[in-house]
């Protein structure tokens, strides 16, 4: 477990750096891919609700400090996203091939809408038209990212059931 936490922490740190320095400026067909959200969802699916919530909070806090935004903003959203995805992974989404793609599509939409509402509540600029216009392309880009990211995350954080156990026969 500590090894998993360290791997996840390293992965998410790297992803936060890439998200802030590279992906933040990417605009494809009006959509903005969110590598951090995609990675967090993949980690949460593989490691469960609590792990996902803690990972989301930590990564979100790091992202908030990196952009001098409202501290706790991304942390709150990613905590809820990590927890919800983790719960889904632990229950109905277990062993289902479409779980990562379904989770990403739903979480991306909820994340964008929640961010919009939160920004509105904080009195920050909340251009709903732009966000809803970019929602489709953003979901599509996140879905495209999901396949390689989930594959990488699964290599890094293999589900426990898949770890080969040695069995010693008695007698």
């Amino acid at each position: 477990m500590p090894a998993d936490a360290a791997k996840a922490a390293g992965l998410l740190f790297l992803v936060v750096v890439i998200q802030l320095s590279v992906m933040a400026n990417v605009d494809i067909l009006g959509g903005h891919p969110n590598l951090l959200l995609v990675t967090l969802v993949c980690v949460s699916l593989l490691r469960g609700a609590v792990f996902g919530a803690v990972a989301g909070f930590s990564a979100g806090l790091l992202a908030d400090t990196g952009v001098f935004g409202t501290l706790g903003f991304t942390a709150l959203l990613l905590t809820v996203a990590g927890y919800w995805t983790g719960r889904y992974g632990e229950t109905t989404g277990r062993d289902r091939a479409h779980a990562p793609l379904l989770s990403i599509a739903v979480i991306t939409v909820l994340y964008q809408i929640s961010a919009l509402v939160l920004r509105y509540m904080l009195g920050e600029p909340a251009p709903a038209h732009h966000i809803f216009a970019a929602l489709g392309p953003t979901v599509l880009l996140n879905l495209i990212l999901t396949v390689p990211v989930y594959s990488l995350t699964r290599r890094l954080l293999r589900p426990r059931e898949w770890v080969t156990r040695e069995v010693r026969l008695l007698g």
């Binding site: 400026n25 400090t65 501290l71 903003f73 905590t79």
Partner: protein, 277 residues
């Protein structure tokens, strides 16, 4: 645990929202940014070539779209410029027409009705339709002129439009005179399309190339002319005569460009006019 993280996030948001710049939260953010900065710079340097390549191709798409939009804009502006030029030219013609109507050259006892050509009968017929009819006082045989000279006469009409048979039509004929020498004749269509002849001018009459031909007007009250006198028709371009012919052969170049008619003036009068044959 999760509830605690959510509460902590809300607490952080509240503190961050309430504390301005220079607070404890800002210091935490500063520290985080300081830690992330070297990694961000490194990642940005690694990603820059890829981003430049992407930016180049994205720029091409944008330029293509921009090019299409600008082409459309150029077309619209070109159309507007053409409309503006057309309106300017029309304005110039109408101003000239009004100036002529107010000048002493405008025939007495006539009222002007300024109007426009709205259609041409056909390529081969020397007739046009004007946008004024009997509602504006136009009658059968009402003379139609421009400031350049005589155009023709009304041959048919409705309440709001009238058909004008041009001077160049084979059925048109106008009593005319040489403004310089007073020699009289009949202006009618020539051999070529749009050409005019001054016919029935006696051989002894003096007509020179360059003389201006105008309408003769009414000479006898018993037989009044359809057209008021003194309206310019054209200029003499050639004068010839043969031993066998009874009259001089005089060609006229009309002052009016019949192929580019636009604004015209109908001359309205209450005087009795003879019935055209």
């Amino acid at each position: 645990m999760v509830g605690g993280l959510v509460l902590l996030s809300l607490l952080l948001i509240t503190i961050s929202f309430r504390s301005g710049s220079g607070g404890a939260v800002n210091r935490i953010e500063g520290a985080g940014a300081t830690v992330l900065r070297p990694f961000e710079v490194a990642a940005e340097r690694v990603a820059r070539p890829f981003r430049d390549v992407y930016g180049y191709f994205a720029g091409l798409v944008h330029v293509k779209r921009e090019n299409s939009r600008l082409k459309q804009q150029v077309n619209e502006l070109r159309q507007q410029a053409l409309q503006g030029q057309s309106a300017q030219e029309q304005n110039r013609v109408l101003k000239g027409q009004l100036k002529w109507v107010d000048s002493p050259q405008f025939p007495k006892d006539y009222l002007p009705v300024n109007t426009r050509i709205i259609s041409w009968a056909s390529e081969f017929e020397q007739q046009v339709v004007i946008a004024a009819g009997s509602d504006r006082g136009i009658k059968q045989d009402t003379p139609i002129v421009t400031r350049d000279g005589l155009v023709g006469r009304v041959t048919d009409m409705t309440g709001s439009a009238a058909q004008v048979t041009l001077l160049t039509d084979e059925n048109s004929a106008v009593q005319a005179r040489d403004q310089t020498t007073g020699a009289r004749g009949l202006v009618r269509h020539g051999q070529g399309q749009g050409s005019l002849l001054l016919d029935f001018v006696p051989k002894e009459a003096n007509v020179q190339v360059g003389d201006v031909i105008v309408t003769a007007g009414t000479r006898s009250k018993q037989y009044p002319s359809l057209f008021p006198g003194g309206i310019q028709i054209g200029v003499v371009t050639s004068v010839g005569q043969s031993d066998t012919a009874l009259y001089k052969q005089i060609q006229i170049d009309s002052y009016v460009d019949f192929s580019a008619l636009d604004a015209v003036t109908a001359l309205i009068t209450n005087k009795r006019t003879p019935k055209a044959p």
